[in-house]
Symmetry: C2
Subunit: 403 residues, 2 copies
Amino acid sequence: MTDLQSALDLLGRGADEIIKREELEARLKSGRALRIKAGFDPTAPDLHLGHTVLLNKMRQFQDLGHQVIFLIGDFTGMIGDPTGKNITRKPLTREDVQANAQTYAEQVFKVLDKERTEVRFNSEWFAQMTAADMVKLAAQHTVARMLERDDFAKRYAAQQPIAIHEFLYPLVQGYDSVALRCDVELGGTDQKFNLLMGRALQEHAGQAPQIVLTMPLLEGLDGVNKMSKSLGNYIGIDEPALDIVNKTMKIGDDLMWRWYELLSLDHSLADIERMRREVAGGQRHPRDAKIALAFELAARFHGKAAAEEAITQWNAVVREQRIDVDLPLLDIPVPESGLRIAPLFVAAKLAASNSEVSRKMAERALRVDGTVVEDREKTLHAGGEHLLQIGKRAFARVRLVAA
Amino acid sequence: MTDLQSALDLLGRGADEIIKREELEARLKSGRALRIKAGFDPTAPDLHLGHTVLLNKMRQFQDLGHQVIFLIGDFTGMIGDPTGKNITRKPLTREDVQANAQTYAEQVFKVLDKERTEVRFNSEWFAQMTAADMVKLAAQHTVARMLERDDFAKRYAAQQPIAIHEFLYPLVQGYDSVALRCDVELGGTDQKFNLLMGRALQEHAGQAPQIVLTMPLLEGLDGVNKMSKSLGNYIGIDEPALDIVNKTMKIGDDLMWRWYELLSLDHSLADIERMRREVAGGQRHPRDAKIALAFELAARFHGKAAAEEAITQWNAVVREQRIDVDLPLLDIPVPESGLRIAPLFVAAKLAASNSEVSRKMAERALRVDGTVVEDREKTLHAGGEHLLQIGKRAFARVRLVAA
């Protein structure tokens, strides 16, 4: 296998589409460091594993020696919602943008190589552009082709309003590739239309059109829907190591292999294939494969030591006690204002009184979902399931229901 | 009849639509000088009577004490054709715009009152606007409503491309009304959509929406098609007085009354109605009504003396000689380079030799289409019909055909 072939294999790993693969091959052959762009929303970032699919792909390009551009689309963010209909979407100030960029940096450099990352803002070039420049940009595309974009087509057919400036935003995104002279743009499959816009505008500007590489949207914990905050089926990259482990250990086996492909940087496709065969052949317990994945993910965002500790905790609390299997689930009624730790443990019959709970808390002997609780004001609300622990051996599984 | 009612009658004369009439009435009642806008193309102007329908309406507002804004839409003109497809539509320079404005001024102040006219350029405000401002402007309208505009709807249905910037131009025009705080905008019926855009954007900007007053498109000499350069059925306002008279005298009677309504400033609707009754009742020859119209039009663009002379000439040459009725039409072959006066008169058998023509020319005894010709280099080309005259009584009607 040639170097070029292995590079192509790595970059193609998990990709939904590469337009065009032969162009990517030709540019890789050139030997120069390519310019790889991915665009990010300028609003407050709070990344989950779904976002890291793209970050991983960026990292793979970096590991092959290419330059990554982390582009923050602040030009449109600073306009806000110009229709004035969405009052919650206030225009961002320059300070907001800088603060959000800082938060991004703290998160994304857990995956990306800082040395090979350029953080850019598209206001750099759009703030200089005049109304006339925008008219000229708008002239480079037709209404009919814009209405071919999936979401526009659906909204137009359903007679839902599309404001005209929404037609300008894909052009803005496309023009960013011209301004940055990108070789490759990465994005989710839902971004394909906008990424192709970059190709068109670059050609119009006399540049070689960028290669478009789309990544699938990661399925969330449920294994069905795409991972998202609003569906609650996510793992945030700032979550504690134990939560990352706990949640990862609960996913189904099929989803595990999918996550391996899209989320693992440590395991090659060949590795993953071998593990898969071993699991299928009974030489390896699927739980062990899952532990290896959970470890990698926890280690990426919290370091190896924290990941090891989380795996140990998980083994102690969940696995060795077989909590999920053996304990009955108690329904605990909870008033609308929630329930504090002390009455919760009393209701779960793990303690005789609030004062006993307080004593145990002071000894750091109280855990909720495997995590030590020291805050007596901590309040839980109806709607969740929790594992309560007091001391080494006393557990209860509770479901909090509205009183 | 109150003053207000007579003002409304005058302003409504010939109008296709007033949106909304009660708003116009309310603003006229306020007693203040209203701001009346009409937009004009920044490309080289060469006005014909069709354009004066709008100028007349502007003049009527001025005569009632209102302020007229002659708006030159140079912002888009200076962009040219941003698709780059129409290479003949080059961007105008600031010098071009100034030169064209000068030409406009020479023409339009034959109708408008200079004292009550503000000549403005929309580059004044659009040159200051940023790309972000244009995005915000674009947000104020939806794709669906834009596609309701007649020509867009037709092109979209016929799958003819509409570039996205074409959606921005009506917004630009509408925004001009915001920048100028217009009370009324005038335009042809074909401009209705764009004029209504001004209403919408003004409301959005917290201004009282302008009244929209549309004027019909003037029928040309043929009485059927709208007057236009490309159809050749026009009278240019820079044409010689005799041509204005000649052409006007040839229009049909129905068209004459239509022209009276839309083109006459001297004759009130009551006047016109009386003339019409007199013609219908046989008390007045329709030709006399037509002469009065021809006189008014010639006088507007060339002064009363020139108009009187033109009418006299028309009487002498065309009417008294009954040229149109009695003379046969001779076909004269003309080479591609054209035919000079001397060989033309020889070919028409009005003279025996070129030198005889030269002698008569020196005596100012040669006329073409009623106008004395003194330039022996003057050359006529294939494609027209002309009335040639030598001395007092010798005429020929010729049709110049390609040799």
